[in-house]
Amino acid sequence: MIYQGKEKIWSDYQKEIPDDHWFYARSCIRQNFFPASEKYFLTICRDLLGKDICDNEHHTTCGGISYHSDTIPQATAMAIVARQFSLMTEAGYKNLVVSCITSFGNYTEILETWREFPEVEARVREDLWKACRREFEKPEYVAHASDLMYHFRDEIAARAKYKLVNRQTGEPLKVVEHIGCHYAKMFPHKGVGGAEYPCVLSGMVDSWGGKVIDYPERRHCCGFGFRQYLVKANRGYSIANTYKKFESMAPYHPDMIITNCPGCPYFLDRWQYVIAEMEGKTYGENGFGIPALTYEEMAGLVLGYDPWDLGLQLHQVAIEPLLDKMGVPYDPSKKYLGLNEKDLMKPELPKNLRCF
């Protein structure tokens, strides 16, 4: 692998990311899957870096999940997106930062559609006005939240308490980065580093001391694929894709996986349990799995937040081996205590995948 070759491509795909004043569009599913990720995005940006991020309680799903699952037409998704823009306009913001990859893809696709077909935009404006008497301005900049985290990676590195380094050996941790399909595959120039060799996550890993693994199925889908999973008859295809990725990354013995999509960390995490049940195979050391984290969770660990506050107990794959490698302290007895020490109850442990 020739690193300079990638750098050359990265220089062709840099996007402008303003430093401050963003309107935050949350994800509809991430708050259930990885509940602390969005909270810590705000904590890091606002409290630590002092940025102005507007978190508006009136916004809804962007419609992307239904659009990609074939349950609503694009016109509906456009009306929903138009309403989000109107909230942003009302709040006085011009920069939109999107938590979810499919949302980011949805916003980008809709803006590009309007650019090419202004009559569609005019129709959506009319629909929105008729439906709820709202008007909107289009955002000047659209970034995915991982773009912003990439943008601030060196500032985060400067405040890092822990590095992506194995405490015992001093070696950088081997990190698999997985980019959500809807990030840049539709519009390569909208992603940091393009679509073939994105650097949005690998840039963070490099900056925080880890070593990125480029394995043969790196570009492959995580396996979610919307209908591949949502329709039960298709789930065999969903897990087959995930299985393919794990088989491909296994020879590199990765210490962790990081992702920038709601579905990817979920499926790369949960399917490890199912693969272990079906095939008796696990991919981490000593019968554990490979922890799959969101970029906010990774940033949170690097910055020294408590792993249980970061919601890492909600992962299927045990996170403790990673914490031990990084030297992050944790209290095992508090793993399943929620807010105000409420007992979340310890889940039943799987047969083949080692967990705590």
Partner: protein, 112 residues
């Protein structure tokens, strides 16, 4: 644990792992097999093709990709009329090819 679904098998052919033993054996007795350019004349003219999926083109490709089971199934429908032999522009003795492959399968059968 029964999840109600399994890991779907891959339909991808991995050329690193294909079993070319039969293809190599056939090549020895019918070297012209390598000249096939997949024009499909053989299949187009085959009286068995319409009803059974028999195709000399696919038989040759199947041998090249190690798909012995599929090859065997196709060949069981051949009536050895020889029309494919007549139309092949690359002069492959398809009849000889078919008989050679069948003979190999018979030999394997006897060994069992």
């Amino acid at each position: 644990m029964d999840f109600g679904f399994g890991i779907a098998p891959s339909s991808s052919i991995n050329l690193d792992k294909v079993d070319l033993s039969l293809y190599r054996k056939v090549k020895e007795v019918e070297p012209d097999i390598e000249r096939c350019m997949a024009c499909g004349s053989c299949s187009a003219t085959c009286p068995a093709a319409k009803f059974s999926g028999m195709s000399v083109r696919k038989v040759i490709l199947g041998l090249q990709r190690g798909q012995q089971k599929e090859v065997r199934k196709m060949l069981s429908n051949c009536m050895l009329c020889g029309k494919c032999n007549m139309v092949c522009p690359r002069g492959i003795n398809t009849r000889h090819l078919i008989l050679s492959v069948c003979r190999y399968f018979d030999m394997k059968e006897e060994q069992k």
